[in-house]
């Protein structure tokens, strides 16, 4: 059993961090989420989520990559930790387990 839970947004952000592997930072994550899911999440929300995940130990971060565009400020890149990976797998497994047990009629809705 998992000891901690993560919310839906946290899960999405965590997955995106994994997706972006080594290039995951605030703006990139936000844009990727927008591209993948059409969700407009504000940069501050993403930052807040990332910090929560970091506190829970699911992501690691490192500084690097200053550009002129950012006025010389560096980016903070995030990577998923083993614990983060475990929890993602856990969620995936739980979902699949539930899905397998749903009778066909429950989710059949004819759009007439």
């Amino acid at each position: 059993m998992r000891k901690t839970y993560i919310g839906e947004l946290e899960e999405v952000v965590l997955l995106t961090v994994a997706l972006l592997y080594d290039e995951a930072y605030g703006v990139a994550i936000t844009q990727e989420i927008k591209a993948q899911t059409e969700r407009n999440i504000s940069i501050s929300a993403v930052h807040a989520t990332l910090h929560r995940l970091s506190e829970k130990g699911f992501v690691n971060s490192r500084m690097g990559g200053a550009t002129a565009e950012r006025g010389g400020r560096r980016k903070r890149f995030f990577t998923v930790t083993p614990a983060g990976s475990r929890i993602l797998h856990d969620i995936q497994d739980t979902r699949e387990q539930l899905w397998r047990q749903i009778p066909t009629q429950a989710l059949q809705w004819k759009m007439g």
Binding site: Y25, G26, V27, S42, I43, S44, A45, H47, A48, H51, R52, M63, A66, T67, E69, R70, G71, R73, R74, K75, R76
Partner: protein, 859 residues
Amino acid sequence: MDNHPHKPHPPRWADRLLESFCAPHLLEEVQGDLYELYGGWVQEYGARKANRLYVFHTLKFFRPNTMRKKTMSSPMVTADMIRNYLTIAWRNLFIHRLYSFLNITGLAVGLACGILLLLWLTHKLSYDKFHKNLPGIHLMMKNQMLGGEIRTGDATPAPLSAALREQFPEISYAGCTGGRGEKLFNLGEESTYASGIYAEPDVFNIMTFPAVAGNPVEALHDPGSLVISESTARKWFGEADPLGKTVRLNNTHDLQVAAIIRDVPSNSTIRFDVVLPFRLLEQEQKLKWDNYSFMTWIMLQPNTGQEALNDKVKDLLSTKSDEQVELFAYPFADYHLFSSFKNGKPNNNGNIAMVIVLGSLCFFIVLIACINFMNLATARSERRAREVGVRKVMGARRRIIIGQFLSEAMVMTFLSLGLSVLIVNLVLPAYNQLIQLDLELNFSDWQIWSMLLGLGLITGLVAGSYPAFFLSAFQPVRVLKGVIVTGRKAAWLRKGLVSFQFFISIFFIITTIVVYTQLEHIRNRPLGYDQENLIEITAQGDMSQRFDLVKHDLLQLPGVSSVSAGTDNLVWMGGGLTGFQWPGKAPGQDFNLTATWVNYDWVETAGLSLVEGRDFSPAYRSDASACLLNEAAVERMGLSDPIGTVVGENNTVIGVVQDFIYNRPTTDPQPMVVFLRQDNLNHFFVRFRNDQQWQQRLAQIEQIVKTHNPDYPFNFHFTKDEYQHNFDEIQSSGQIATLFSGLAIFIACLGLVGLSAFVAEQRRKEIGIRKVLGATVPHISFSLSRDFFQPVVWAFVLAAPVAGWAMQQMLEGIDYRIELSWWMFSLAGVLALIIAMLTVGFQSVKAALANPVDSLRNE
């Protein structure tokens, strides 16, 4: 850096806002992300919308996650740091001994002045505060139209208090006092004088004079009792129990001591040692409604306003006498400070003027001392600059450095405070003598402590704040490179401060000069009569009845040229009349006419001169209803041919006396009328020749008086001495003003010495080079001093008009005044310039005499 056209930048205020609330370790990435997004927004939406989005998203970062937590910065005030600060401060004090000495001394002197003045001020402001019911205590005062303006006075008739008590329920107590003065008391063999006052019993219910024994209120109901103060009891009866003992008043009444009160404190408007029952006075004289010689005190019921009462009592006096007099109640709490009225309203001419003047004096002196401190500290900033640079590099924030310098200033201030307390203790006896008070620095009184601490704190903060801010602003890079930090702005400020100091000093010099000139002017005012060789003897008991006998005996003495008597003593004439009639008097016209009654030969004895007519003479029986007028009276009445005119109550004018000075030497002579009287004259005048034997003569006069009046001590005064007493108070005020002006200048000069020494040292190398190139010593001294003359000149230019205006205001209130003239201002200016030259010149010359070898050795 690539040359792209002006890139749009997110609004800086939003940036700063973010920087202010964002946690430092997150700031970089957050701000970087925002910048990156901003770039995209600008391209997509344009600058304006991009700005709005930027602000919007910045504000969205206002979350607990990103906020800075309370900075747990390492405590900056560890014990080690404190030790370091103290060591540095101590070292600095010692290395620059001259400056430290100047700073501390100047500040100490300034603080000492401040303390002395504050002591006086607190005393003055504490007058009458010891009365428990002070808010309810009021003094009845009257407004009268006289000669077109409203005259306000506190003299009321005796029956007023009873009337107030009976008719007005708003008044809980009403009492009347009067007859204040030195009274003669006999205790067995000895006779002595004590200051006494007649009072109704209710007065002790209104005012708080705590009793040590007996009950003063009851005692005063009995016309055979009296109340005395503790020290009087001790003086009269030693350690014996005074209650019940009998003393004789004025050789006429036997009174028993029925109560003893604590000594009246020095901060009381009415002071006395003995209280006599008012009934006694009523028994002796019939006191009617037209005799305005008493003070009536009332206490209002709690929560009663005086306005309501004033409406009711307004016409009380007008109904009882046939004059238009408006009565009102004036709060006793305001009486001491605001007892001067103009046109019915209290104005700022009474004691409050002194308070304001000395209060501002105190403020300015301390300010000058603080400015000194500031100037010296900032001037010496060069030396501390490198220290500041190193500290900043080591990580000290500006706030810390401010704190360091502020505490250094505080330490110096409290050192000065200690020194100033010593100075005050040394000077206090002389100061007390000067102002004729008994002030003391009582360390067991918490008020004194709080005043001293407050003074120290405020001075330290004021004096230390500017240098602290100035010094802590140094940028490490520039300072450690050795760039000269004191730029033009700082030098300009320093000169401005010096200018301000001298402005105040010159203002004081001018004031002192004017005050002294005015004083001398008054002193040398021709009196109109001959004060030399004139004595005045107070007639006691029934001596006044035997005047003719006494006069006859006195005239037998060789050298006594003339003897007369009168109701007043020439220097002070208290009696006044209104409603006097004269031919040609316009209806509604009236003025206060001084009235006095005299015996024959008064004009000659007093040394007055008659302009017209003759003195009273026993040859004319009609003289009993005749009178003399003085020139001022004749002029006011508009009499073209006074001799023979009938004025007043059927009095024929037989002579016009030349105006002479009485009451206040500063005013023009007031109109006076003189009547003849043969009895009840309290003051005898004797004029005698001035030669070697005057002492013997005096002894002889005393003999004669004693034979006629054996029960009373011989009480006489030289009229000249009496007159001089008038000046005592003005003179001491003048002395105080001079003293403090001198001190202000002294402190300003201390500052100048420090500054000039500093500047001279700064320019050491420059002077060395100049000397090598052939400049002479005078030339160099002059060029060094020149910088300091400018502020002094400016100070003079500004101070002269201000002082001139202030002095004009002061002189307006004096009739016999000097005209402000150029020499007073020029003298002040020249004096200031000389003082500045001396202080600066000394340092300049010293610097100019230095050997160039020494200053250029390390080039």
